[in-house]
Subunit: 239 residues, 2 copies
DNA sequence: CGGCAATTTGACCACATTCAAATTGCGTGG
DNA sequence: CCACGCAATTTGAATGTGGTCAAATTGCCG
């Protein structure tokens, strides 16, 4: 076996509830263990897959943090998402049997490799898995709808506030703090995701600090006033 | 039977290749006919489904033109897509069993109603259908990635050029002209989709007309110089 | 013909970008 | 351990793109 891939099991994975359906029988779980063939380690800065590469598998993130980006022909690129433990990447590859974006590790990471033909095979027999796959794809569609709303109609402060709230909410669901987080990405990457320049991201952080909404030390962010952040995202109209 | 719903068959639908998998056996086709329970007519301006409504079915558009929009709590809304004959809407509803956006007919329309539990059932048995469902969802994810690139990194002219090229390409695939199209949506709806104000859309159209790239008479658009449009979307760097 | 919605156009303004420079933090090697 | 070099970040000043507000025009439908 490749030193880069390790045999594993979902049945005792502590991320199970994040990336697998609930309420499976022991025998179904065992069969899914079989689909999740192995793990793969990705060093910080390395790609899990790249635009144009053949699509074979979905990947469940075990540890680490990823970004996905698409590029236009003339070199511009756009971060389309940041993914953390328990989330699935690779869905973009299904439609054309080739990936249409890059997935890059923002820190040393480990993923479970799930060959897609095996997923399809098993999801014909395990209804809960079929349903789960559909939900994962639908969730991604809904997430992207939200990003379109953000990019299409929000101003810089609103975008950054929404970004921070989303990030901290997902981290909290994984047992981390509700009010403190470490950004795994640069200001430029945040800017690309939010449709802003890195300077604008920096300035907006500074503005939030001035206003006492957050504390920022480099990549370390502490949210001092979550209500105010929420209010920036969703300005309340006075009655 | 409701006067609003009509019994139908995919097996003789001329849009089959657009919304159904290819290469099905007659018997498989017949079974799919059975999933596509009935049709529904939607008047211009009426909603096919609305944010918050229970999700039951996907809809294949037979005739007419739709927009989908999401709204933020404070009333802003964002058009997330325009859909035409042969395209599928409703995928957003799968993840939470409720729709998270509105689908509104931009002209009198007719859709095939495909109850999702029936789709799941049948796609366990007909591999081509299973694969097809996965591809449709993946295609939507990839489309939205492209919109994110547009909203995140393009300027007004680039956005509108990309929009027109995309629209005319999809229409062409349905047998319409490569160079002429009728916009089914208002300037405001285009603007919402592209993250621009309606005045900016109008101004940008005017600019394209000045530059001899298109002719515009209200909603009727004729593309005079597609290469120039492509060049606006993807500026070539001089060597 | 009249009324209304959609579109166009102009003038002014705001927000984010660009360009530039200074500062900070971090890893590496002396 | 400190010095150095590089990348990331912050901040400032000037600019530009698209937004806002307002008014005029067009087209459509009753």
């Amino acid at each position: 076996m490749n030193s880069n891939s390790i045999k594993v099991a979902c049945s005792n994975c502590n991320l199970r509830e994040l990336c697998m359906p609930l309420g499976l029988s022991p025998i179904e779980l065992e069969r899914i263990d079989d689909v999740v063939a192995n793990r793969r380690k990705i060093k910080r800065g390395a790609t899990l897959f790249r635009n144009g590469e053949k699509f074979t598998s979905l990947y469940a993130i075990r540890t680490g943090f990823f970004k996905t980006c698409v590029a236009s022909e003339d070199g511009r690129d756009q971060v389309t998402g940041f993914q953390m433990a328990g989330e699935i990447v690779g869905l973009d590859g299904i439609v054309h049997d080739h990936h249409t974006c890059d997935a890059i590790a923002l820190e040393d990471a480990e993923v479970c490799v799930m060959p897609f033909d095996r997923i399809e095979e098993l999801s014909r027999e395990v209804n809960a898995l079929q349903r789960h796959v559909h939900k994962i794809m639908s969730r991604e569609i809904v997430r992207e709808n939200g990003v379109m709303l953000l990019l299409g109609s929000m101003r810089a402060e609103e975008r950054l506030a929404a970004f921070l709230l989303n990030l901290v909410q997902r981290l909290h669901a994984r047992g981390f703090s509700q009010s403190e987080l470490i950004l795994r990405m640069t200001r430029e990457e945040i800017g690309s995701y939010l449709g802003l320049k890195l300077e604008t991201v920096s300035r907006t952080f500074s503005k939030f600090v001035e206003d006492g909404i957050v504390e920022v030390k480099q990549r370390h962010v502490r949210i001092l006033n979550a209500d105010k952040l929420k209010d920036i995202v969703n300005p309340k109209v006075c009655n």
